[in-house]
Assembly symmetry: none
Homo-oligomer: 191 residues x 4
């Protein structure tokens, strides 16, 4: 019997990696990094502990790859926005944000949880801060075009608001008044 082909192996490898990363993602998002053990991840992924180390150098490495895969997904949004007229752009940003919060709550949860762990995962920290800066700049530009008195101050407030809403949504879950907040903000900034 001949051995598996390279292509077959590639498929198998990718499937296993996917299973492990999915398990790691949901568990860490729910319980945090320290409270999630390799044994739990392997068990939820339906593989042996050992296999995990075929694909990731360490628990830390697994989390890093997890973060990178999440970040990549969210990356291409800003470019599209720059060309729109300011009001539409604002409205699009808000829409994007609330959609994100609703549909990818776990991404936020994971990143927020890891950001707290500054000592160990300062690269997440760096990334998150950089992202935030980027959004503040974009908002500032739009708000200036819309004629606001203090566009930078206002942009910072909106950025803080995003973080706060994200955090609250994370904590409150089910019954959080996301819709109300969204309406309120659209009225305030995009009317």
């Amino acid at each position: 019997m001949s051995p598996r082909t390279t292509a077959q192996n590639a498929v198998i490898r990718q499937q296993s990696q996917r299973k492990i990363m999915d398990a790691a993602f949901s568990l860490i998002a729910k319980n945090g990094y320290e409270a999630t053990s390799i044994a739990m991840i392997a068990s939820q992924a339906g593989v042996s502990k050992g296999l995990l180390y075929n694909y990731f150098d360490s628990k830390e490495d697994l989390v890093k790859q997890l973060v990178y895969s999440i970040i990549e997904i969210g990356d291409d949004n800003i470019g599209q926005i720059e060309s729109l007229d300011p009001k539409e752009a604002m409205s699009m940003i808000f829409n994007w944000f609330f959609t994100e919060i609703r549909e990818k709550a776990d991404h936020w949860r994971l990143l927020t949880a890891l950001t707290m762990n500054i000592e160990r995962f300062d690269f997440v920290h760096e990334i998150v801060i950089a992202k935030m800066q980027e959004y503040v700049s974009l908002l500032e530009k739009l708000l200036a075009e819309l004629g606001y008195d203090d566009p930078l101050g206002e942009a910072r407030v909106i950025a803080a608001l995003f973080d706060g809403i994200g955090l609250q949504a994370l904590i409150a879950r089910e019954d959080y008044y996301l819709n109300d907040l969204e309406q309120f903000m659209l009225n305030k900034y995009c009317k």
Copy 2:
């Protein structure tokens, strides 16, 4: 050696408990729950590990008591505010908030970090949500008195803003533009 009186013992007990909780607080706020060991706490408190278990049933119990003690400290502020005129009250709340962020960053850090660990410390979760609700109600009342159109919506925004600013201040540390934000908000809501 005459035995200690009951009163003396009570004093000793309280001092030891205080030392332990202070040590636990500063260590956990800095390094997180999982990264802080009982040995570290006992060592920094200057007591033995054994003694710690005279006063607290477990590490988890110690953290619970810690959280309760922090929450209590912050509790008596709301009462004083109710009697003021709305503008002063708003201004006082903002002032209280920014002072809190500046001077008790560690309290925030601890609570936020624990809140992430929902599975294990869901009581923190409950408390934090209840507090938030309380503040939203107070703000709503004040904003209504100040004639805002949608006082509830606005109150929720402010509450989210507080959380967001708190989170960002936590993450960004040194160079965060707290002063600018404070001025901006005072201008906006208390002028």
Copy 3:
């Protein structure tokens, strides 16, 4: 009930350390470093695995302390020899060596085994080489005084002989002809 006194604790600590080091010593001398697990050491010492780490930072640290304790024991012999007349001195060195081989075979075994592990325990390596050099120098001096043609060459031969006999004794155990060799060498060099 009052806690143990410092002195009591010191005794307890020393006893436990002794038990652990003795167990580690005999097991590693017999099986080698890699083939001896912490679990085996703890079990033979009659303590828990955890206790071992109260006294030693790591398995490697345990071995280092083991080696240092062995080396210290053997250290004070050379000084006493220098003052004797050459023949007596030679005889004393031989006597010391054969006694050592006979009575502390396990010391030799441990050091030889670790010396093989150059990558990990190069400090043993260094120590062993330095010791060897020291002995060669001493022997050279004595042989020169005894009128040998090539005292350095002869000293090197004797040093190699010591190592060879040590190694063979290690390997052959029970039935090795140590006595015969001792007689032969005393006749040859100290007559």
Copy 4:
């Protein structure tokens, strides 16, 4: 694709086995038995881990076969020597020994290292002792013919010397005075 003939298969088998044993040899000689993993051996041999288990029952079995193959290589030397005149024979043995030490240091290293692991590889132990005995007998015969007083004692000394020099050469590496020792011994025993 016509199936391979039995003969072709035999060739392939032997080549693969050779590659594996060569890799195992160089790695274990360098790093020791425990520090050399099956994965390393397979990788250096350019075959899969699975294939290795087609030819060897276990890691231990691989090492055994390795040792046997090394021993066999060294085996045919003694026969040739018996017919020479004693002085030439002695000189030849010495020459053979020093050549061995110089050019096949890795063989020595491997055997010595394994010999230390008596528990696990006692067969190496047995073999080495038997060899040693054989050489002692041969030397004794030659030394008797050369008229030495105590040929057995002298033979044992030479055997021990060989072991000692081998060990020291192993430990000291680069700067060891092999040449000096060789000259010294040739002068002493073959002049």
